[in-house]
Structures are given as structure tokens and as C-alpha cells.
Symmetry: D2
Subunit: 302 residues, 4 copies
């Protein structure tokens, strides 16, 4: 979906189980033309699928880019389905497309530094069933959260980042993330190290970051201190896909809180935690439900 | 759409201009079954229509009620279109449906009492092009707003409500509302008289009211005073379709503001004005764009 | 502060440590008259205290009720302080007043049923230092949360509520809550049993509850289901002091989220969890900082 | 309060009526020390004033800057009051201070370009009594709003800004703003010309601007287009005091709305209007009630 980390386009999502599932999601991106909805829904109707929800968006009805997400239930999806769709529909409209099994729990790895609020929130929500995913691995450049994470039955790997030896640390993380068939998503839950372009290229799946400001304001380091200095009356947080350009990737979700002159930097940090963990959880949830498409550094969120 | 005031179902909307328009909206309500989207989009594709946006909702994918709004552009809609749709698609799925011309400005009448903030806000937004409609008539039980309204080129009719003679006042309003081909929508912009079921039956179009609380809390009279007495930390406003049961009709839009113990009743009233006029304008705008369907006293807002 | 559970008025708060502390809070309630601020601040200035913050509110400047919270630092508060204040200031203005040591961590007990989100949020915030308190005891009518709670170093007591034997359960809880010098606050973190007036009278401290609706709408059982049925576009949560009348106690804090027709009851429950835990944490934090006064079933929140 | 436009410090506000008024506001700024509140409230108590509300803020209890706003009622304020306060209190604590007559309506001038929503909102709120001020003058570089403004009984001056002759236009505006004893506040209600430092120096009163983004994001021109390009999920507006540095003055108030990928630039502009007018009206109201102090390019809002 985003540059080198786009996986699964023009084919079924990674480790999809065949045979049959019961609920699937079809994501489509193509030039806008007449007849797309009719072709796709006709294809599904012919296979007796029931469309549960359907969203579409066009940047411009006259010749823009067209995006669609259809969730449908079906008795069975055989090997034949993807091939037939590619041949009968996708080719005709020059579609990029992806088919996802809604029943499969995506595999998520979390990277974290000292602050634990986003990490624990994700683990809680997953255990409670609010996030449909597995979180088998947490990596941190600090040893602090081992017990908390292991209490959830999740493996905790401490990968310190020694000054001047970041490439070694990144190599170790790539190794961990590549094991057991890899991951569908990496979440930076207040991971305070900048990741190299090479790491992003090799990680093989989308990476979501939570930034502690309402981007594009206060990109970069220490946003709460700078927000306090500027005297803003609103602070916020932004969840975005990570690209090589720091804090400039496609924004998935943002939220804010009102503050006053009374809040010092420490209090802003504390208020901000609630915004960060909520915004990150919403963004991760949207991604897990295949609701986010990326187009020219902006997201389409269905 | 709502009870006796449902107009236009299973046919084109009231005074639609034939021949051709360029943008149309198709609203559909029927039992959920496989193949609906395919049938409708196939019908449109065969007429070379381009679907601009499409929204659907099902109360339950297995045997629930299905709702859809499709906006499409088309070179021309002739007399033939509606008949063909009824025969080829609507009958097969037992649809209630309505076809609306997006280019036609709907005719709106506003009823108002002493408070002018909702009234003026609607007139401003209409002049500015934010609301696509005509507002040729304002009726009030007070004479106060005549100059303000006439400055917008709108007719102002003072219909006093004398105690014990409300039926006469309502009859006069029905007469005014029935002239010149009638209206598509009546808006109660802080009209503080309770309207009879007979009036609602005779007015011949949907009626939207703005209530000055977050319903169902504080239904009935004097909600800000009662909110103050209860010590709530949030006040709100609710726009809803009017039914015979007071303040119990389908909710279209709601919003709120945070308040503290410091705000007295007068200040709540003042803060509330901003919420009321914004919520009412949003609800009216949604209705004008044919985005609101009603199902079992609840709205589906696309 | 509220009925039988008002403790500490006209005297220092419960187990205050003498001698010296460095930061104190003085809470005052009395009939509004000229000279109150001057008398209190003059008393503090004479003892070389530095007023850190000061808030006041009067229901009516002419003869209403007056409320004040002053936070101040001082080298030492000896036994003499309270007596002198009572004699020199409080008596003259017919004050109810309370002096609290800001440095002392209040003792909080949490009651909980099946849903763990509010409970875990409170424990986590306390560990992180966002809530200045001790939480030595959690009581539940379910055994489920024992491990989670004990991981925070907190004692977990399972007190089942057997049908027809609620008085025995309440007696056991009163016993637990009375041990070790008692508690400053009991928090009902989604405790789904109705507590008797006798329990409230015997518990000896304020009780805060989180209700999962924006009261007064949907008081009582199953608010999310009823909100869904009514078709509201906003759901919320309310933290309030518990009184004998169910869901009618003084409201401390409320917040809401926007929802649409698409959210089923289960999704409302899930969205609601975020509102509930945030609202409850804010209310508990305000109480712990002695920012909440109660007057005629309404709160003054400084 | 802000640089060259600080008026009224260390003395009574400009055209104050002597003798007696009944409600006054005292604004104080000085280094934080023990005894300030006692000295001020003692001074007022000795004159039998009743403190209606009191707010204070200190950047740091140990040696920071101290700010206070006290509203009080008093039978009469004679010439003696200010002199006595200066001698007995202000000098001792090295205070900057200002005394304002709450009963006097401040004189406000509005500058506007093509967009009328902020202008009309201010005029309407003033007529309705929500803003306690007079608005005798509106200046615009466009002739469009003459009738609307004159309908409110306000003088409308068209001062075109010809390319290369801006100094002449500014001189004409300074002349208009200096007549009739001058103004207490100038409001830029979507005035799209950059004002020179010389104009700001000569205008002789604070200037409030509404910027159509949540500053510091999207300072400068065309913020909605740039917000759309960046793909933000939130847009906002910022009311701030104008300084020579464009869009960098002290922020008084901000608010935001959530948006999605579906909103094009035109729709963002339309949604933004509601935020802009609300934020500007709140900021103007706070200023009119003497609730805003400025300290090191940040505001203290009581």
C-alpha cells in the first residue's frame, strides 16, 4: 500500500488459509470509469456472495482515482476465485486489488521505548477482543517492560541501540521480525529511535507510528515542550504510516484535547498519553480491518 | 419517509423536471438479499451512468432491512427511466425507492418564535451557498423578525397563536404551506408551539425540529433550566424529524458542549444557541442532500 | 461533603501527619459575605504561607453560598494552625472548612464486576504517577481479575453476591473497607450491584461511580442497548458521587463520543469503554486533589 | 498588554467614567511573592468591595511571574481609589495593573475582506447581547458588505487597497480608527491584507485576528488547500493577538473539527467557517471581559 511495503496487491493477502472462509474483504484501486461497481458486484452476485458493506471514493468522478472496499460473506472461496476475478474484472479496469480473509488474525509486532501506555493499551485491547490480531512479539531498546509483556503471554525482546551501532540493532530486529513467517504490521508504540530507510525496506510490512502532536505542527523531537512554548490551546496526537521522511507519512488518524495556560509541560505529557493511546488504537484497528488505502501520501479511510 | 409524511417513495420526487438532469440520487429501502447492489449498479451501468458515491447499510446481513443511497451522473433521465427501474429492479427486490434530481433546489419553509439565531443562520447559509435550497417563506407567531427576513428577499408571515384558537392558526399555516406547489421541507427553527397530529398529517412534507437538549435527556419544556438543576457537565442540542409524540421523533443529528458549575441558566442558553444553530444546519443540509432515511424511528444517515 | 459521608469538615482531614507538611489545601464553604478572601489570605500571609492557587465560586454574589479552594505552601503547620483558623476566621464567617495535606496519598478501594477496563486503567495510572493515591484493596463479586490485580501488588478480595444474601456480602465489604484505618474513597469501577443505603452510610467515605451513559439520559440498566434503540448520535459516560437514589447523585465529570447508525450495541459498548475509563479517571483525580465540593446535589469543581 | 499596544497598565483604563461604577475588574501582573492576595483583598475589603470572582496564575510559585484578575462590586470608586491602590499596594509588589469598568461597553472596530461569516456573527452576537461592546465602525477593502452592515446601524467604510499604495490605505484606516476618541479593540474578521508594523504601532489598541488553521500548522496563505494536500484528519482555527511577525502572535483561543478524505478543499472551507466564527467570537468575548493577559508571547486566559 505504501511504496516498498505494499504487500498483497493484485493477489490474496499473505498467509491466507485455503480452503473456505466465510467473510472476506476486497480492496480495489483503479482509474475511475463507468461500470466498476456493476462489474465487481456482478462478479460477487454470480458466486452467491452477500455484500455486507461497501465503500467507495473517487478523487474526481471525471477521470480521477477510484477506491473501493467491499466486505462480503460467501460459502467458500476456492483457488479459482482470485484467478477468475483477475481475469474477468481486474484486468478490464486496470485494478490493483487485494482479497483478505476477515477471519484470520493478523500478526502484529510492537516496538517500544520507555513509555508503556501505548504498548499496554494495545495488549489490553487485544486480550479484550477489541483488536482482532495476534501480538506474539514486542521489541524494545529498554529492558523495563519484560514482566508486563510476558504476563500477556507475549515474547519480549530487548534490543539495545548502542550509539554508533544502530545498523546492528536494526539487523537484529529485521531478523526477529522475519521469523515464523513474518508479520502483517509493525507498530511503533512510542519507539523513540529513528528507523533507517533500509530497515523500512526490509521489514516487509506496513509500519504505523504514533507521533505526539497534531502533525504537521511540531514534527520532530520534544513536541509537548514546543507546544507549551508556543502557547497553543490544543494538543494532539497523530497516527501515520512510516515513510523515510520523518513524521511526513500518510496520516491515518488524529485527535486533540483542549489545554490552558495552566498546564505545564509535564501535564501536557500526561494529558497527551490518553490521546496517543486512543489514536494509535483506532489507527491499528482500522488497519487490521483493511479500512485504510494510501494514495499520493494521503489515506482513504473506509 | 416518516409515516404520513412519506412522499415520493416508489416514484420520482415531487416536482422533478423532465427532461434531462445531470446528477441524480437514488434512495432504496428493501429486505436484505443477495444481488441488490449488482442489480442496481448493473441497471445504471447499462444506461451509462457514472456512480459518484454509494452508501449502503443493513440492519442484519441475514434477513435484515437494507438501505442504499447512490448518487450518479447521467446524460439524461427520460420518462422511461423510472418505469424501467420499477419493472426491472424494484419489483424483484420489493423495494421502496425514490429518485431525486440533485440539481433542483428544494423548497423550505421555516417556522420560528422569538429566538432568531437558528432562523438567521439558515438564511445566511442559504445565501452563502452552504445550503442548496430556496427559502421563500418564514412563518412566526411573533412579528419581530419581519425586517431581518425581508432583507433576505423572503416573505414573512405573522400567524399569531391565540389561546384556544390554535386550530385556526394551524389552518392558516397549512394554507400558506400549501400555496405555490407546496414545500419539500418545513423547519422548526425554535418554533415554541406544539403542532397537532392533524397539522403534521396535512403539511404534506417532512418536518425537522431543533430541540435544545441532548435528547432523550430533558425532553419537554425548559431544558436548560433543568440541565442546570441537575448539574450536568455537558449540554447539547438535537435535530429530529417531528412526529406526534413530542421530542420522540427520529434523531438526525446531535452535538454537545462542555460546561461547568460556573455557567448559570442564562449562560447555558447562550452557549446552547451555538450548538442549536450548528446542529440544525447540519441536519437540514443532510436532508437536502437526501442523505437521511428513517427506519423504525431511527435514522440511517449516509 | 455529601450527606452522611461528609468527613473532615470543620477540621483537618482524617489521618493527617503532624508535624509539618509543605503543601496544603484549604476548602471552605460558607454564606457569601464581604471580606472572606481578605480574612483567609490575611491569615495565611501572617503565617508566611505562599498561595499557589486559589479558586472561588459564589452561587449569587448577593447572599448566595460561597465556595473556595486555596492551595498553599508553608514551612510548617503545627497543631496551633487549625485551632487558630477556627477561632480567628472560620467562626466569624460561619464556615464549614477542611484542611488537607497535599503530600499524603489518599487510600482508595476499588469495587468491580466483570468488565476490567476501568479497574486496570486506575491501577495503571496510579503506578505511572498520574493518580496520587494508594490502592491497597480491590473487591469484586467475580474471581476473574485476581492475577491482574495482584500483579500490581494490590490485594484482591472476591466477595460473591448470592441472590437473597446481599446483606451478608455488604457486611463483608464494610468489614474489609474498615480495616487498617479505613479508606478515603471507594470507587465503583463498573461494579454492577446496587448498594444499599445502609452500606453507603456505613462505608464512611465518599463513593464515586461510573455510569455508562450521559446522565440523566438512560439511567438504570443496559444504557447502551437503550441508546441504540433510541437512535442517538452521541453516547457518553458520567462519573458521580453515589447517593441512595440510583444514578441521581452529584455529577463530577461527563464526556461523550459521536456514533452513527452503523454501530451496533456491541460496538457502542466497546466505544463506551474508552469514555468510561477516561471520565472515571478524571473524576477520581479531581477528588484526590480535593477539587470537588458538593452543594444541593450539584458539584463545584475547581 | 502586547508591546506597543499595551494601554492602561498602571492606571485606570482609557475613557473610564468617574464618578461611581458598580462592577470593576482589577488586572495585576508582578513577580510572585508571599502576601499578594492578602494585600489586594485586604485593600478591597477595607473599601467594602465584594469580590465576585478571583483568578490567579503563577508561572512558578518560587520566583515566577504572578497574574491575577479580580472582579468586584463596590458602591463607588472615586478618584482616590487608583491613587491609594498605587501607593498602598502596587508599589510594594512592583505591580503592573489596570482597573476596568465592567459597565462600560468597549468600542470595537472590525476589518473584513470578502468573507462575511465572521463579520455577521460578531454583529449579530453584539445585537443579541452576547458581546458587551459597541461596534460603530466596519472597514473593508471590498464594497460588498455595506448594506448588511448598515442594517445593523453600523458605519461601513470602503478603503480599497491598491497595489503599491498600501501605505495610503493604512493611513486612511488609522485616521478612521483614531476618530471619536479611538477604539479599545480592532478585530480582523477575515481581513486578508497583511498589516504593517507601523500600522500596528499607530492603531493604539490591541488587534485580534482569526487565522483559518490550528496554528502553528499552516501559517501563511491558503491553509485549507495545504491541509487537504497533507491529508490531515482535523482542521481548525486560531484567534490570536496580531504582532509584526505574521501568524506568530499570542494565541487566545483555538478549536478544531474532524474531517475525512472525502472533504475537498471547498468543503473544508465551508466547515472551517463554523470554527472560525465561533473561535473568533469566543476570543473577542474573553478580551471584552478583560480575561486575557499576555506574557512572553503566550496568553493567560482567566
Amino acid at each position: 500500500m505504501i511504496g516498498a511495503r505494499d504487500v498483497g496487491w493484485n493477489g490474496c493477502g499473505r498467509p491466507t488459509r485455503f480452503p473456505p472462509f466465510v467473510e472476506a474483504r476486497l480492496l480495489i484501486s483503479c482509474p475511475d470509469r463507468h461500470g466498476i461497481v456493476a462489474a465487481v458486484s456482478g462478479f460477487l452476485a454470480a458466486r452467491d456472495a452477500n455484500i455486507v458493506s461497501s465503500d467507495q471514493y473517487s478523487t474526481d468522478p471525471e477521470g480521477g482515482a477510484f477506491f473501493m472496499r467491499m466486505a462480503f460473506t460467501i460459502d467458500a472461496i476456492g483457488e479459482e476465485f482470485a484467478g477468475a476475478f483477475a481475469e474477468e474484472v481486474a484486468g478490464r479496469f486496470a485494478m490493483e486489488w487485494r482479497l483478505d480473509d476477515a477471519g484470520r488474525a493478523k500478526r502484529v509486532a510492537v516496538l517500544v521505548s520507555r513509555e508503556d501506555h501505548c504498548l499496554l493499551d494495545l495488549l489490553w485491547r487485544r486480550r479484550r477482543g477489541e483488536l482482532h490480531c495476534d501480538i506474539p512479539l514486542v521489541i524494545s531498546n529498554h529492558p523495563d517492560h519484560a514482566t508486563d509483556v510476558e504476563n500477556f503471554g507475549t515474547r519480549y525482546e530487548h534490543v539495545p541501540v548502542v550509539k554508533g551501532e544502530k545498523p546492528a540493532a536494526e539487523a537484529r530486529m529485521v531478523e526477529l521480525l522475519g521469523a515464523d513467517g513474518g508479520f502483517d504490521l509493525v507498530v511503533l508504540a512510542r519507539y523513540m529511535q529513528i528507523l533507517s530507510g533500509e530497515f523500512l525496506a526490509r521489514v516487509g510490512c506496513p509500519v504505523i507510528n504514533i507521533h505526539h502532536s497534531f502533525l504537521p505542527a511540531f514534527a520532530g523531537a520534544d513536541p509537548y515542550r514546543r507546544a507549551h512554548e508556543r502557547g497553543v490551546k490544543i494538543i494532539g496526537a497523530t497516527a501515520h504510516y512510516v515513510t523515510e521522511e520523518l513524521d511526513a507519512g500518510p496520516i491515518i488518524e488524529q485527535d486533540v484535547r483542549h489545554v490552558t495556560h495552566r498546564e505545564g509541560v509535564e501535564t501536557l505529557v500526561s494529558i497527551g498519553r490518553d490521546v496517543e493511546r486512543t489514536v494509535l488504537a483506532r489507527a491499528v484497528g482500522l488497519h487490521l480491518e483493511d479500512r485504510v488505502l494510501v494514495h499520493e501520501n494521503r489515506t482513504v479511510v473506509f
